[in-house]
């Protein structure tokens, strides 16, 4: 009885993602279902679309740079927040993760106004800063959760045996928190790669990201080219999640 109700609801939930795969193989020159024939022409069109390919390269570079920077900024802060009980710790953590709770449309507008007067719109610096705003809270939350799940006793043991703090971090904490670091990399990389709304406000005519280019493409015309791009994006996401899960175990890394 419940199954009869749940099956169409699951279909409703998954249909838009599943449908892009067959549609990406359409031979039609416009968006139509069912396709009148099958071909790989839209994958070829995607590979030969200079704008989208440049945007894809930008997004790939951006997500790698942002991942490295987010990790470098968030790891020291996460160590202090997870390890030192100082007054105002909850408030500081709330402030640092607040962008996660606020609408991206508001965050994007706030950055647009600041960036516009300083020549940061449509620049790499601006894009990296915008993506740090979005990804730092994720990095902090994942790292703090991961550190909170580690046994603190071993660090104290190493320290009491005479290891200086830097050695404790390098030889004990860092190896233990590696799964958390890997999960952070996977999540920050995906969030940065998928980020659309904030990017929309700070991109420029010469520098744009893949999701923004796709958004603009869907706005201007609807043909199966976006389905090919979408299918590749879904496969890329699955690949990142699969690798992260196989190498470190995402759930273990999330501290659950």
């Amino acid at each position: 009885m419940l199954r009869v109700l749940v099956a169409p609801l699951f279909l409703f939930l998954l249909a838009p993602v599943i449908l892009v795969f067959p549609l990406s193989l359409s031979a039609d020159s416009f968006l139509a279902w069912p396709p009148s024939g099958w071909s790989l022409r839209w994958y070829a069109a995607l590979l030969h679309h200079p704008g989208l390919m440049a945007a894809l390269r930008n997004s790939a570079i951006l997500s790698v740079v942002v991942t490295a920077l987010a990790l470098a900024l968030a790891t020291p802060a996460a160590l202090v927040i997870a390890r030192v009980a100082f007054p105002g710790r909850e408030t500081l953590f709330a402030l640092l993760t607040a962008p996660l709770l606020l609408p991206t449309i508001v965050l994007g507008l706030a950055l647009l106004i600041i960036f516009a007067g300083r020549g940061l719109l449509g620049t790499w610096t601006g894009l990296v800063l915008a993506h740090l705003l979005i990804t730092l809270p994720y990095a902090l939350r994942v790292l703090v959760t991961a550190l909170g799940g580690l046994p603190a006793g071993v660090e104290e043991a190493a320290a009491s045996l005479g290891a200086p703090p830097a050695t404790v971090f390098r030889r004990v904490t860092l190896p233990l928190m590696l799964p958390g670091v890997a999960a952070t990399c996977a999540i920050v990389c995906l969030v940065s790669f998928d980020e659309t709304v904030v990017s929309l406000f700070v991109v420029g005519p010469r520098l744009t990201t893949f999701p923004v280019a796709l958004f603009r493409y869907v706005q201007s015309r609807t043909d199966p080219l976006v389905a090919a791009a979408a299918a590749l994006m879904v496969l890329f996401t699955l690949l990142v999640v699969f690798i992260a899960d196989r190498t470190v175990g995402l759930r273990r890394a999330m501290g659950r």
């Binding site: 838009p16 900024l73 927040i81 007054p87 402030l95 991206t104 449309i105 730092l136 659309t196 958004f215």
Partner: protein
């Protein structure tokens, strides 16, 4: 995914936590560690706090036609916003549509969440992945999927034509499309919240009620529904604030014909270049968020 997704554990009373609690640990030797916080705090001040405060103050500036900001403090933007019935309608419409989407999301998500909660362990992992997977897919992609399904040459109008409707009603570039698309986009958040709420249910309670002669409907109404209310409230809060502030889906499925708060902010900021109005509308969005949070706090206190 290997291993097993354990159900989240929460205390039996009180609202579901929005943020993880920090366990106290270690000595309070902050001064020697303070510098470790500096990079993250600096970044936060630079890209978050300063731009947000600047945004709030910008709504108290006035702009000349053409977008140039006039110097000095002014209430002209707010006065214009509050007296123009277009903006009043915009806010009311946005809240109304968001409430409708929240209700539909809850209706569609509740059976799924219940089914996943009751599924045998080996199925639950797979079903959880199916529920969470759409979250990992870009909103642009999922919205594009809805254009494929609902568009004029799409799946649903095609089916309707095959069933004999010569002129199926347009399902995209209007409010119908926005509501359908956003409902689907927000379902995973609702499902996850509901599952967190169901985690508090004790199956022995249902069995006890059933063994005492309560019919399934009564068990649901008297036991399951009340105990799952904290999850319902959290899911509704998330769905509402996300619906009220989402941009990609309303923009693509509305085709510029369904003005909502988020699309209006974007248009004012990028097309009209009226930043004070865009800033004031952002403050309105944040105020709507605040009211929703307060209501959530009150209601979850009441059901606990």
């Amino acid at each position: 995914m290997g291993g097993g997704l354990r159900r989240p554990r929460f205390s039996l009373r009180g609202p579901l936590p929005l943020t993880p609690s920090l366990k106290g640990r270690g000595k309070a030797d902050l001064p020697s560690h303070l510098w470790l916080l500096l990079p993250a705090v600096t970044a936060n001040l630079l890209v978050f706090l300063w731009p947000m405060l600047n945004l709030a103050t910008l709504s108290f500036r006035d702009s000349a036609s053409g977008g140039a900001l006039l110097p000095g403090f002014s209430l002209a933007t707010w006065a214009g916003l509050l007296t123009d019935s277009y903006y009043a309608e915009l806010v009311v419409d946005s809240i109304g549509v968001s409430l409708l989407i929240t209700a539909l999301t809850l209706l569609c998500a509740y059976p799924i969440a219940w089914f996943v909660h009751r599924a045998p362990d080996r199925w639950r992992n797979l079903l959880m992945v199916a529920c969470i997977a759409p979250l990992l897919v870009s909103a642009v992609v999922r919205t594009y999927g809805w254009l494929v399904i609902l568009g004029d040459h799409g799946l649903v109008p095609g089916l309707l034509r095959a069933l004999g409707f010569a002129h199926p009603p347009p399902l995209v570039f209007n409010q119908t499309g926005v509501v359908i698309g956003l409902t689907e986009v927000l379902m995973p958040y609702m499902i996850l919240s509901l599952l967190a709420g169901f985690g508090r249910l004790n199956p022995t309670l249902e069995e006890a009620a059933a063994s005492l002669g309560a019919r399934p409907i009564a068990v649901f109404r008297r036991i399951i529904l009340p105990l799952s209310l904290p999850g319902v409230l959290l899911g509704c809060l998330l769905a509402f604030v996300l619906a009220a502030s989402s941009f990609i889906t309303p923009s693509l499925l509305g085709g510029g014909r369904v003005p909502l708060l988020a699309t209006e902010i974007y248009d004012e900021a990028i097309v009209t270049l009226n930043w004070p109005v865009a800033a004031a509308l952002s403050v309105v969005v944040l105020a709507v968020f605040g009211v929703a949070l307060v209501l959530y706090g009150r209601l979850s206190h009441a059901v606990a």
